[in-house]
């Protein structure tokens, strides 16, 4: 029997993710892939396998899962509580799931995106060169209770790791982008001195940054020409709100103040101060 993971109960934004797809940007489909690439790598390190295998991404909410056949799982990313057949198990660790055992994962306590990796990765169908799903763009259908995801099998259990620290408040370093010069020095310095909170109105397209002061605006503002965007781009919308573009982000006609060095995986409500750090000079 091919091992599989059955979804007994899941939240609305559970997707299969890997490192995303190359060569679709020219056709208007962003690369996609796991929102937290560290978590993908940490899960792979725990299980002792390649870091491009498909995992299950749990946005904020956990879920209940049942093993068909025995295989190993790793739990990484946003910290969630987890139990196997009612017995609490460690996060940032890998465990053995026996045939018929139930894995119950609670909502995120720190961070936004939790990850369930399995030995051998999920062997769901490849879509345009990757297993990453982007239901908003019509790539893959949303997962729901009753779905059964085939599992490669193998892996290892009984290991834990200390994750890269990333879920608390902190400073986001920002590189200049193609449109940074559209903002005045005063606007950029006010931006770099502002403390932001990750707004709960955030998703795999963009993380909205909330703050208490006035909004930000570029010269030209709304009439900025739509352009290629990549995850990490910081866009300022017409009402002056910054968004950090996430893996499924798409082109917006919005000015870009810069490029965040790290995906905005922080917990809702935590603060992010940002400092401009000119590493590359403008072209």
């Amino acid at each position: 029997m091919t091992p599989a993971l059955k979804l007994i109960a899941v939240g609305p934004h559970v997707t299969v993710q890997d490192t995303g797809r190359l060569r679709t940007l020219a056709f208007g489909l962003s690369r996609g892939g796991a929102a937290d690439r560290y978590a993908l790598a940490e899960g792979a390190a725990l299980l002792g396998q390649a870091a491009d295998l498909a995992v299950l991404e749990l946005a904020g909410m956990g879920g209940t899962f049942m093993a068909r056949g025995a295989f190993c799982v790793a739990l990484t990313g946003a910290v969630m509580s987890a139990e196997i057949d009612g017995t609490p198990v460690l996060w940032n660790a890998c465990h053995m799931l026996q045939d018929g055992q139930t894995l119950c994962i609670g909502p995120a306590r720190h961070g936004s995106y939790g990850y369930l990796s399995v030995g051998g990765g999920f062997l769901t169908p490849t879509l345009l060169g990757a297993r990453s799903m982007n239901p908003v763009a019509g790539v893959g259908t949303p997962l729901e209770a009753g779905d059964c995801l085939p599992v490669g099998g193998g892996g290892r259990s009984g290991l834990r790791l200390e994750p890269v620290a990333r879920f608390g408040s902190g400073t986001l370093r920002v590189l200049p982008g193609p449109q940074t010069d559209l903002f005045t020095k005063d606007m950029l310095s006010r931006f770099s001195e502002t403390t932001f909170r990750r707004d709960p109105r955030s998703n795999r397209q963009g993380a909205r940054l909330a703050q208490d002061s006035d909004g930000f605006s570029a010269k030209g503002g709304l009439s900025v020409l739509s352009d290629i965007i990549v995850p990490g781009d910081i866009q300022i919308t017409g009402d002056g709100t910054p968004f950090v573009l996430m893996p499924d982000g798409w082109r917006l006609s919005a000015a870009r103040v810069g490029f965040a060095m790290r995906s905005c995986a922080g917990r809702t409500g935590r603060t992010h101060r940002r400092i401009a750090l000119p590493v590359c000079g403008p072209g």
């Binding site: 020219a26 982008g177 193609p178 010069d181 030209g220 739509s226 990549v230 490029f259 403008p282």
Partner: protein, 246 residues
């Protein structure tokens, strides 16, 4: 002290993240800048540089991505600058390998409720507007916002009509909309501020097909006016014909 943003000179090469360069040919919608972007991307793809992971064009720019762990950003920037200096890219024709799509479209009525209003803004009757739109070949300027969704142009200056201030709550997949001298065929049903003037059955994104993205940036599109009852069911080519351009 007054602080005036720099005025950029085009073309320019700007960093986009740690693993990308953006070559920009302008900051306004401009047909020559779009042709330059298409030609420059085609030249990069033809050069087949091993350090380039992916290329893409937007309305007036080319994105070149690379793996920053393997490739020195400045060395690639230098190669891009050398290639830029080789030719007057703004004066280039269009690259080879383009196709011409003839797409059936039902204009006006329930299939395009804004047609009469749009025609009036352009200074034409509804029939004259349909004639103009079916006799003017347009080019896929870029694909984006939704997968495979074309931004087509550039229409003559009289078509520089604004987007609506209020959004139309929902137009169907395959809808033909117009504003700012451009046309869009929508990949999926969506709210929009663009003016809904026609309906096609052309699927712009076919994830389960061998050709998931039928259109490529640079392809030419011509509309053929049909009645709503002659429109095939939505999906696939929607009755469209595709020919290679010489």
């Amino acid at each position: 002290m007054p602080d005036t943003p720099n005025v950029p000179e085009f073309p320019l090469i700007a960093p986009l993240g740690l693993g990308g360069w953006l070559v920009r040919f302008g900051d306004r919608p401009d047909d020559a800048a779009n042709r330059a972007a298409l030609s420059f991307r085609a030249a990069i793809d033809a050069a087949n540089w091993k350090e380039v992971a992916e290329t893409a064009t937007a309305l007036a720019s080319v994105f070149v991505s690379f793996d920053p762990m393997v490739t020195a950003a400045d060395a690639l920037r230098h190669k891009l600058a050398m290639l830029l200096a080789e030719r007057d890219w703004m004066g280039q024709g269009l690259p080879a390998g383009r196709r011409r799509w003839t797409i059936p479209c039902a204009f006006g009525g329930a299939s395009g409720p804004a047609l009469t209003d749009v025609a009036q803004q352009v200074g034409l009757s509804a029939d004259e507007a349909i004639t103009a739109l079916t006799q003017t070949p347009v080019r896929v300027l870029t694909l984006g916002f939704a997968p495979g969704q074309p931004y087509l142009g550039t229409l003559p200056p009289e078509w520089d009509i604004p987007r609506q201030k209020t959004l139309t709550p929902m137009v169907p997949a395959g809808a033909l909309v117009v504003a700012v001298r451009q046309l869009i065929v929508f990949t999926a049903s969506t709210p929009t501020g663009w003016q809904h003037i026609g309906q096609t059955s052309f699927g712009c994104f076919r994830p389960d097909s061998d050709s998931a993205f039928p259109l490529r940036a640079g392809d030419e599109v011509v509309y053929r006016a049909v009645s709503a009852t002659d429109l095939p069911p939505f999906g696939g080519d929607g009755g469209a014909i595709c020919e290679d351009l010489p």
